[in-house]
Amino acid sequence: MPVFIPSSLAEATQLLSTNLDAHLLTGGTDMMVEVNFNHRHPETVIALRKVPEFQQWNIDSNARVVHIGSSVPYATMEHGELAKALPALAEAARTVGSPQIRAAGSLGGNLGTCSPAGDSLPVLSALDAIVHLQSEKATRSLSFAEFMVGPKRNSRQPDEIITGVTIPLTNGWQGYAKVGVRNAMVISVASVCLAIHDGKVRVALGSVGPTIIRCSESEAWINSVGLENVDHAIAQEFGAKVRAESRPIDDHRSTAEYRRHAVGVLAARLLLRGVQK
C-alpha cells in the first residue's frame, strides 16, 4: 500500500527506514501543488498528521524555550499563547498563504521544502531555532543555519523526519515584515525578521538569497553602536548595511534591485519599531 498514516513517531521512522523514497506529507500544501501541476508523481507517501508528537507545542518558561511540533498548523501560531511568546513567528504565520493554507500548513512543511521564500524561515533563523530530526535509530538537533544549506536543500537525511523545532524565547522585542504585491495571500518578495535579546539585535532575511541570510555584519555593527543610540539616521545606516548583506536575484516576482532596497527599508523600520522610535 503506497499511503501510510502512522500513528506514532516510532512507526513513522520505521516506515521511512524501509521506504526511503517515500514522500513525507504534513499539511500537503506544498506537495499537492506539485502533484496537481504535474511536476511530481508520488508513489509512496507517509502522512504524518496522526503522529501525536508532531501536533504538540509547549512553552517551557523555566528553560525559556518554546517547542513546536512539525505538524502544528500556522493558524495555531497566529493567536493565543504561542503568539504572545513568539510575536515574530505569529506575524510570519499570518502572512502564509490564505487562512485555508494556514489551517493545514506547518513548520515541518516550510523546513522540508526549504524555499528561501518560506515565510517562517527568517524567524527560525533570527530566533536561533533548533531543528530536530529523528530516524529509526537516532536523533539529531541542528541549528537552523546547519539545517538549511541551499535553495530547497537541507541536511535532512533520507531516513530522517523533521519532528519539530525548539525556539529560545527572547527578552526583547521581535517582529517580522514581508513585502508582497498584494495585501494578503502572496509569496514573499522580500522579508525580514528582527529580534532583540539581551540588548543585542539579530536579523534574518528571506527571499533575497539562496538561503535565509543571517546578517552577522549588520548585527555586529548595530550592537557596537548600541540600541540606546538608535535614531532615524542610525536606522537608515543599519538598513544600508543589511541591504549590502543581501544577495537577491531577478525573477518574475521582482528585481534584485528592488529586493535589496526592500530588505534595507524593512530592516530600518523594524529596528525603529524595536526601539519604539
Binding site: V33, A47, S98, P99, Q100, I101, A103, A104, N183
Partner: protein, 162 residues
Amino acid sequence: MSESEHYTLTVNGVERKVSDAWIGESLLYVLRERLGLPGSKGACEQGECGSCTVFVDNAAVCSCLVMAATAVGTQIATVEGLNEDGSLTDVQEAFVTEGAVQCGFCTPGLVMAVHHLLDHNDSPNEQEIKEALSGNICRCTGYGRIFAAVDTVISVRKGISS
C-alpha cells in the same frame, strides 16, 4: 490506471468507499469525480482561490491540497452537507438576497469560508471579515455584495439572539 488505492472517507457524516484510485488524487478530485459531490470547485489547484474550501475535522482547508488517501479517519464536510434538507442556511440566503452571486463559481467556497468565520466569531469587525475571506478569490463581484451578505447574516443572528 495501473495503481489502485482503496480507502474509506467520512463525508458529511457518511462513510464513502473509494476504489481503484490513483494515489495523487486530491480530495477535491475524489469528492467531485468519484463521490458525486461537485459542489466544491477547482479553479487554481494550488490553494490560491478557495473555491474548493471544505472542512476537515472542522478546519476550513483547500480540498485541492489534501491528498485524499491521507484523509482517512477525518470528518469531511462539504457545501452539500450544510443543509441536507435542501433549505438554505442563513449565509446561503444572504448570498442570494444581497447579490453576492454572479457567475457563482467561487460561491460554494465562499459560503463555507463565511460559515467557518461566523462559527468561530459571531461579531467580526471589517478587517476580520476581510482577512477571513482573503483566501477566496471572486473575479465577478469585487467583493462588495459579499461583504453585504456577511453583514446581513451578522445582524440577523444578533437580532435573533438578543
